[in-house]
Amino acid sequence: MKDGDTPSLSDMSRADRTPIAHVENAHLTPLPAPLDDPARERPWTPLSEKARARYECILDDTCAVSVPKPATQEEETRLVRAFLSGLDKLFTRENNWTFLQPLLLSMEHCARRQTCADACHIFEASGRNELYRPTYRSEIMRRLYFKCVRHGGMLSAWQHGDIEVNWPLVARLIELSYRCNLCRRCAQTCPIGVDNGLIAHELRKVFSQEMGIAPGRFTTAARCGN
């Protein structure tokens, strides 16, 4: 991957509504023989103009969740508020006793050593694209936790890092929470025991249980009573 394509954490809040990372076959880790035949490779199908116009596909040229674009500024504000409300609930025992303790531990003790990165097959296979680094998503969540749940001020932002909260951030985070298959190999290798898989899992919980947003196949499964 080229340096110019490396997304920073602040790119997640970029207001320009364009993807912050672009992936092509050439970026990916080569497959072993006989799958390494270039003639057998198919180019990525670009998202249709219709999909781009209708959904928030502003993370990486792919849409796993297909979040409809809010029609108005008020709608965006309402969705951001719903996200922050869900984030608050995630850290209360009444709503989330099921994972509160491991989540707090993962929020408060990451040493940012990146030991987990080599264990993540998504990060490795993407050609080590920073967007898919297991700590990228977690670091956004951690900054949101210290800023919006713990209500840390300037000192907290200096210690833990800051992040701008807006609808593009939330929309990209919805997609990014589904760029992890929760295998927890990162947690297995972390010397401290921080669990990036759990963080992705808990983000999905906010989107689903507070905002009613989940990928189509999941909602279909729910309709079928699974």
Partner: protein
């Protein structure tokens, strides 16, 4: 100056212990979580721990006695705490910097414990450190102190250099991360310089600690050494407010999450806690959850949401 030094040493110790305790109690009081252990769990029987197996693989496991392999767990804990085994296995480059830093800190803690023990022994029994015993103790804490300082300084410098130059670390590095390593480096460098450059005839470390325990403000601590002690004490007090308190978090991530395979047995503590949690009233807003703040967890998980909410 000596009074200020004694006061800061006392205050820092109190802040460190209190803030660490508050953090630990906070985690300990958090509700039980759903099963989330990661295998291998080292307190499994050795033949199962070797391949990451579990006693739950046995048929009718609930009728069989619980086998706790304390030795296996102790071995895993020792390798992890003393030698940072996981970091060595999965991030060797960083281990080369992080291990000296952490092991150096352990030696400094051992030095502090030895000097404190020697000071108390001298106060209780003035002749306790006469003769070869005294020579041995002094030699021991000088050795651990000098080795600890050098290792910690080398490790902190290596970690700071890596954090500033490695692009993989840079993306998540905050100003606080740089500051945390820099203050370690500065405090311990000043402490080391103060010890090495102290004037001949000035009070040694043991005399200073004895003076501290007696609150003898007449002890003339050399300026640079006093500055090193002050800075080190302030750094110690600062640690529990940062992610550097991961010695607390790590206990819980291992014992309460990764290795917690306690079974929910009838009439046990888990069942009792669960009974309480099921009375909580969630307020998740999405319609398919059907949680209105009035219905309990028990209600929510045992009923199907209305059809319209699931569309």
């Amino acid at each position: 100056m000596t009074t200020v030094l004694y006061f800061v040493l006392c205050l820092s110790a109190v802040v460190f212990v209190a803030a660490t305790a508050v953090r630990a109690v906070g985690y300990a009081r958090a509700p039980l979580h759903l099963r989330w252990e990661l295998y291998p769990v080292p307190h499994e029987a050795p033949e199962r721990a070797a391949h990451g197996g579990s006693s739950f693989e046995q048929s009718d496991w609930w009728t069989r006695p619980v086998h706790a392999n304390h030795w296996g767990q102790l071995k895993a804990m020792t390798a992890e705490m003393l030698f940072l085994k996981a970091l060595r296995e999965f991030n060797l480059q960083l281990w080369r910097r992080s291990f000296p830093f952490h092991f150096g800190l352990y030696l400094l803690i051992a030095t502090a414990a030895l000097v404190l023990g020697a000071a108390v022994a001298t106060l209780v029994l003035p002749a306790a450190l006469d003769g070869w015993v005294g020579g041995l103790v002094r030699g021991l804490y000088r050795g651990t102190g000098i080795a600890g300082l050098m290792l910690t300084l080398a490790g902190a410098a290596g970690l700071l250099h890596r954090r500033l130059t490695d692009p993989a670390l840079r993306i998540c590095t905050t100003a606080g991360d740089i500051f945390n390593l820099a203050v370690f480096l500065i405090a311990l460098a000043v402490l080391g310089a103060g010890y090495a450059l102290r004037p001949v005839g000035s009070p040694g470390v043991l005399s200073i600690v004895i003076g501290f325990l007696n609150w003898n403000t007449g002890v003339r601590v050399p300026g640079l050494l006093a500055a090193g002690l002050l800075l080190s004490a302030l750094v110690a007090a600062y640690i529990p407010f940062t992610h550097m308190s991961h010695f607390v978090g790590k206990y819980f991530t291992y014992h309460a999450v990764r290795w917690d395979d306690a079974a929910n047995r009838r009439g046990g503590a888990i069942e009792k806690a669960m009974a309480e949690y099921l009375t909580y009233r969630p307020t998740w807003a999405a319609p398919h959850v059907d949680a209105d703040g009035v219905r309990t967890w028990a209600d929510v998980v045992t009923t199907t949401p209305p059809d319209k909410a699931r569309r």
